[in-house]
Amino acid sequence: MKKLLFSSALLWMAFLATSIFLLVSSFEQSDATFVLPGDAPPFLVSQLILTCLILLSGSLLISRLVQASGGLPDADWDALAAVVVIVCTAGVLLKPLGFLAVSPVAAILTARVLGYRNWLINAVVAVAGVACLYLLLVKAARLPLPPVPGLGF
């Protein structure tokens, strides 16, 4: 049973639940405003799509349960979790701490998790790479990235 749970059945259930939730809330949201004469109601097409999603994820769920094989594939879950956490944290801290502060750290940590052991080369590549990227985007293309507070750039 546990094997079954940790298979794609979980995923199809998640899709099913989300689609149902969105469909229901779309009915609430569509007590809304302005509809142009002759136009289809703004939520109609999305509701159709959600209905398709419900049907599809439902069928996939049923077919998965029927098959009753499953379990998670073999993988380095620790490494994966670590990288996911690094990337998510980097995203959250991007605006508060600035691009130049967050990115090299994220790159260095990711390289380490992926197996690269030479800290010096790792750091040099990360800092140089981020610096080049910064120069290209912020200076050459004039596309501002979140600045480091206190540094102003």
Binding site: L36, P37, G38, R142, L143, P144, G152
Partner: protein
Amino acid sequence: MKHAFKKLAAVTIGSLMATAVAAADYPAKPIQVIIPFGAGGNSDTSGRILLNGMQKVLGADLVPVNVPGAGGTIGMAQFAGAEADGYTLAFSPSAPTTLQPNLRPLPYGKDSMVAVCLLTDNPTAVTVSPDSPYSSMEELVEAAKAETLIVAGPAPGSVPHITQAALANAIGTTFTYLPVGGGAEEAKALLGKQADLAADNSAMGTVHGLKTLAVASAERIDELPDVPTLTELGIDVQVSIFNGLYAPANTPVEILETLSDACGQAVEDPEVKSRLQDANFIVRYLGHEDFQAFYEEQFDASLEMLTKIGLVK
């Protein structure tokens, strides 16, 4: 107590001086100017021409930053939340600053911004396809009363949308509105006979080779001297699309003056002027005080018009 008072005085004087100093060597670093529409659009084009001209005058970088989305409201919301130190400005057409705040609840409003300078002011105009059966506004009005014509325009909440609603209201009929996008898409819809008319920027006729039947301004414009105004024809509708530079509310007056003057000088630059005119903009410069008055007047006029049409309760 005395200590605290002294400290407070010192801090106050210090920050006043800092502001004065900051204002004195403004601009000390690049200024970001948010344009709430995508690169290549109307406001983007006129904005970039202006900023390029102002850079020469101010001696500092004015960086256009495109933040498109939701009819310009995303970019303006971002702008309104910025610090009022003169280093984040916005260059916007009139819909996000005068129409949208009146139409729906937004994180910004008239009081979130202060006007810096006006750059262009084009009236809207009624255009039809070159092989349209209507060759005058009178004919169009008659047809509009007899059947429901289709008007092409951008998404609701835009100036052309309001124009056609006001027009329908004044004539006493209704149109069917077909949202297709900007001027080029409207021209395509007219040429492809999916729509009967459009009510967008007065430059559209010349740019896309369409017939302009009337302009929605108080007087005839120099660019189209043979085209009557709607007022002449007894239809009281005057709508314009204007592009201007804005700063967040509470920006120090010295900074506003510096920017406003630089803007005025940039507009006098023959290269800037010719670039704007080649791009079919009607150049009209107003300094920060005059533009502020104009902006508030337009804001209230929009609210009035929206209420009259029934888009706002």
